[in-house]
Symmetry: C2
Subunit: 263 residues, 2 copies
């Protein structure tokens, strides 16, 4: 470990080495890692290298450091399925975790031009705006803003937005859900997201924006969710066999535009 | 804009406001944004607020700043499909962009315990190790490390790893590809990734780890790809109707382990 290959800084290699020990199960969630001093000795590197490696492992949620107590392997990230669909509450139950929803805002607002286009309504048409926090075992998992055209769910009640909106769409309003399109991007948390998600400013996070459609192609809701990066991991299965697995065409990107004159 | 609501810092609101102008197409890729001074005037905020908002927009790849020339709307992110499959080369052709592959490493290495488990081979069995960079219009898009059991592709040649490995698996080796499982996590780039991807250290990135299987359930390859966050956006369609759309069970996570004694 004392020497480095071209291009790979020492702390990067040390970080990978520690991560390997965690991911191979040699160190498990809750286990205490060797001290900084012991890591220096074991891998023949400087204190600075050890600290840099630990800093990165902490930011990405692999370890937790407690003042005076040491460094511990963090709980596993919550692996969330992308190729199938399950509601937040049901999924947490399956995982044996306790999920909780907190409604931060529930209002009716006029549609902006952008939201009107996305939800197939006229500008200034009334939209429900929901801001919700989801917690897992009392730790924030995601912050989400959802817009629903008023006409999609007239009389939507506060009690109904505590759980799965899909259940409410299907049950109370009789909508036939067809598909959901998701756009996934990595972002850094700013002051606001950091406060809600209880992480440092500039922590890694995933932004997932989505639109859900009914069988007639009518958008039922649009949401923007910010997932805590150190607690979230998404998993999906891609079929490489069936005809539908073949790439057929570009999905439109509602947030992107050609340079001037090209459209 | 001068006053802020509880919880939302001013710069966050300003950032959202500018992003809305970009995403609605009011400002398009290549367009010049108003100067810092003009933004202060227009939104009645301080220079600090404007700078913070622009800093975040830049880190996430929405704008580019050129010393002495001003602030410009960045090129659109490259939207990559997750629900279907298309090779990197074919996809770039479809987008009308020029894709390029650079092989950084091509070697045969012994399988570590972790890789052996993932690829269903014995520890120390020979694996091809490929490190490749993918560029789009000369800008780095992703850095990827791929491991392939030697027995899956004996005699794999250097020329063959310039393009789609799936094509080589199917064509030269006659493998029947069945599925690919992807795990997606947000990370921050460290020195090494930053150097390869040509971004600042600590920039947002997506790590996608995957395993591809043949129809007999044999793993053909495992890869770890780091996508530049300011250039990448993933899109997928979830079916909410067909029986296969229903969540049926947990996919195993090869990198996570129960706390000691729980397994």
């Amino acid at each position: 470990m004392a020497k480095t290959k071209a291009g790979a800084p020492l702390y990067h290699k040390l970080k990978d080495r520690i991560l390997e020990l965690i991911e191979s199960g040699r160190y498990r969630p809750g286990d205490r890692l060797p001290t900084e001093y012991e890591l220096c000795e074991q891998f023949e590197v400087s204190r600075t290298t050890v600290r840099q490696a630990l800093h990165h492992l902490k930011l990405e949620g692999h370890i937790e450091q407690t003042q005076g107590k040491g460094t511990f392997v963090a709980s596993s990230k919550i692996q969330q399925p992308l190729s199938s669909y399950i509601s937040f509450d049901d999924y947490m139950k399956r995982l044996g975790l306790s999920g909780e929803t907190k409604v931060l805002e529930f209002a009716v607002v006029p549609a902006t031009a952008q939201l009107a286009k996305m939800l197939h309504v006229a500008e200034t048409d009334p939209l429900y705006k929901l801001i919700r926090m989801r917690y897992v075992d009392r730790t924030p998992l995601k912050y989400s803003i959802t817009y629903i055209p008023w006409k999609v769910a007239p009389g939507l009640a506060f009690e109904e937005i505590q759980g799965s909106l899909y259940d409410v769409f299907r049950g109370k309003y009789g909508h036939q859900l067809s598909k959901c399109v998701d756009w996934i991007e990595p972002i850094l948390t700013d002051d606001q997201y950091s406060e809600y998600l209880e992480v440092a400013v500039g922590a890694p996070a995933l932004m997932v924006r989505s639109v859900t459609y009914d069988t007639a192609g009518m958008p039922l809701e649009h949401s923007q969710e910010i997932f805590r990066g150190d607690r979230s991991k998404f998993v999906l299965e891609r079929d490489l066999q069936s005809p539908s697995a073949k790439y057929t065409g570009l999905l439109p990107d509602p947030w992107q535009h050609e340079p001037d004159g090209a459209e």
